[in-house]
Symmetry: C2
Subunit: 455 residues, 2 copies
């Protein structure tokens, strides 16, 4: 059943494009799903992709365009005339169309919108462009099926047939009063099972979840997930129904958010993919590396401050990577758990209690690791390493426990603190937490060593 | 609109539970959404939660139970009799019911299933339990609306009214032949707009995406996302329609997978949450720390092998954390990008090309970082640190570039290699990659230093 995009297939397509044989292309790609067309487009250069877009029906290509990576789409749109772009937009739902228009250069935007023949569609797109990014208004589409509470089921079905033409998928039918204010909802199932003469006011469900145009997108995702909604109506400040958001947009949103958090934890500052250009990848990766390098300088400076240890206890310097790595790992573990709890909105209770729990947990982990360390030192390392005596071993073990406790406290506290300040706590994961914990870890280690060994 | 679970509200509920006042509880919680009931249950102890479950209608509590964390649900179910559990199962969709039964102890399972009054429901649950975990069969539900291609639209609507009673949400109507083999689908919209006498065979859409019972869950999620499906039919080896999977289950699956990858990258081996017990958290966090500790021992051993550097070039030891941290950070960046590309199925093209790209990228990053390093050394560190001459600076700079290249190659290659071997590449992120890169980084650094400085 599944379509497989083979190298052979791509070769066949590029050959037809080279021959400018639109008819053969249409025949070859007939019946191929738009998501597969999108995959194919990503394999072509932008000139070939543009030819393909122009050859196929905009009913298909408009959907395929939406599946493309933003930069691939941008390159193709640059090669299309305002008329051609407008044709694609006509076929799109308003939310997708508005997204595409927003990506265009300002002077093109106006030209494109003027070329859209369906005036209602055009004005819907313009309306959607006015909402702030990251709000329900920017996420919603204008396409929905709306009926008045005073209608009968039969009248409703008639009207729905008319409206449904513009709506790809009917999730729910929204019931409004004569002023367009949201009153409730009606499922297609209810409509199927009610008799034709019944008034809508008798069968609709008045309990309906909704969001307003300025609800934040994260909140929309949270509500839709929590209440298992497949679509949610959007109202303006007067509770007038203005749009709806469907679950497929939220699936994309959830994925994007999860990927962003993951990349942030991995020290990648911009949304990049493996296939992006070297320039983009450098731009995404270099900033954190520079910050980490600065952290590295601080650790060099801290270590040089303990250079008196070099004469009698140089062996301590063999342990700095071990201590630093443990501090970093523990910090990342702690912060990841907190960042996830914040993202899922499950972080409740007092911060103090949480820090206390973290200390107990770290004490257990620390004691286990310190015991392993002492056994390994006794059995192997003391024989391998000159100058390795039991006092040094005890110093390393005590430091390890202290470092684990401090690192876990930092890893727990920093994201909670950032979140309270309104900063995305995910920045506190990854390189930031490893770098700062490296420095703290090394300092604590040598500070304890100085007290115990005296240098 | 949104329900807020306040401390006050919880207190009110626990007081009513203490008084065993079921009527007042039902009144208080009337009209509260099951997802909010679930939140409330998570705040109660298992005895209180069980009383609450018993007081409310199973129509509500069965849904609330499904929203609970698995361990909270388990504790509550332990306090319910087989009859009471069966009552909850009667209200659940078969997929949820099968999940709950699978969580029960073996000897309870049979008792519970025997107590389910609806025999078809019971046998459906038993059927679902036979499928392998991580397959479409284990993910699907038996509830669906199925019509025969020979029926008329009117007959179809009649039959649908009957079937729809058991189906919470109608996504699609599936059309089968007389043997139950999947032929196509019909949208509710199509049904609304077709005339009553039309035969289904004239209006159904024969192009339908489907999966088989043994399709892997990851593949199901990929297909549903790629083709923007809200539900997908599941067929057996003879193409007989046996169930359907809806997008809400896939949303949960996507979230779980993303969280698992994130936790893996953060060195957390089991699915834990901030509110889990200390024991569970230790179990999830300790294993990676032990592995990292073993890596730490190796780095101690590597460093001790270069102890001849201590006499004249001890300053090198101040730089080990800087080198190790950079190696770790670069490795995590590289592996995260590859792991994400593998998860999204966008990793194409030859591995050699990808490694070459990674080398070019690392060379740029390395040159930038090395330049910053040399400037900082010249301006500040050479004055602060005794024994810090320009030759040491050049040694560190060359090592930094080499380490960045090697670390990025390891970070790129290891996940690709693991994936080809059928191992989840996400294990290659986080502590694993930082630990191994720490060791390689330190070794490369001292090896280069030995060549340049000669000790």
């Amino acid at each position: 059943m599944q379509f497989q995009l083979t190298a052979d297939y791509i070769r066949k397509v590029t050959q037809l494009i080279a021959k400018k044989d639109g008819n053969a292309l249409r025949k070859l790609l007939h019946d191929i799903h738009f998501a597969d067309i999108a995959e194919l487009l990503e394999e072509l250069n932008s000139k070939e992709a543009t030819f393909l877009i122009k050859s196929l029906e905009s009913e298909i290509t408009s959907e395929a365009l939406m599946e493309l990576d933003e930069d691939v789409r941008e390159k193709i749109l640059k090669r299309l005339s305002p008329e051609e772009i407008a044709q694609e937009l006509e076929e799109m739902d308003t939310d997708d169309a508005a997204d595409v228009v927003a990506e265009l250069d300002d002077h093109i935007q106006k030209q494109v919108i003027e070329k859209i023949e369906d005036e209602e569609h055009a004005s819907d797109i313009v309306e959607l462009l006015t909402y702030d990014e990251d709000t329900a208004g920017a996420l919603m589409a204008k396409e929905l099926v709306q009926v008045k509470e005073t209608w009968t089921v039969a009248g409703c079905v008639r009207e729905m047939r008319r409206q449904a033409e513009n709506v790809t998928r009917v999730h729910s039918i929204y019931v409004t009063d004569k002023d367009g204010k949201l009153k409730g909802r009606l499922s297609l199932k209810d409509l199927l099972t009610a008799s034709a003469k019944t008034h809508i006011s008798e069968v609709y469900i008045p309990k309906v979840d909704y969001v307003t145009v300025d609800t934040e997108d994260e909140e929309v995702a949270r509500i839709m997930q929590k209440y298992d909604l497949e679509a949610i109506p959007v109202v303006d400040e007067n509770r007038v129904l203005v749009g709806r958001i469907t679950i497929d947009d939220i699936v994309d949103f959830i994925k994007d958010e999860a990927e962003k958090d993951y990349q942030m934890a991995a020290g990648i500052t911009e949304d990049v993919e493996a296939d992006d250009s070297i320039k983009e990848l450098v731009k995404a990766r270099l900033p954190w590396l520079i910050i980490a390098l600065i952290g590295g300088f601080i650790s060099v400076w801290v270590l040089s401050g303990f250079n008196t240890a070099l004469t009698e206890h140089a062996v301590l310097f063999f342990f700095t990577p071990l201590i630093a790595a443990t501090a970093g790992n523990v910090g990342v573990q702690s912060s990841a758990i907190i960042v996830q709890a914040i993202a899922n909105d499950t972080l409740k209770g007092s911060t103090w209690k949480r820090l206390l729990k973290e200390v107990s947990l770290s004490l257990i982990n620390g004691l286990v690791l310190a015991s392993i360390l002492l056994i390994v030192l006794k059995l192997f390392l003391s024989k391998l390493i000159p100058g390795m005596d039991m006092l040094v071993g005890i110093t390393v073990a005590i430091s390890l426990i202290s470092v684990i406790i401090v690192a876990s406290l930092i890893g727990t506290f920093v994201p909670i603190f950032l979140n309270k300040r309104g900063i995305d706590p995910a920045v506190a994961t990854g390189p930031f937490i490893t770098t700062s914990n490296d420095i703290f870890g090394i300092f604590i280690f040598f500070f304890i060593a100085k007290i115990i060994l005296g240098f």
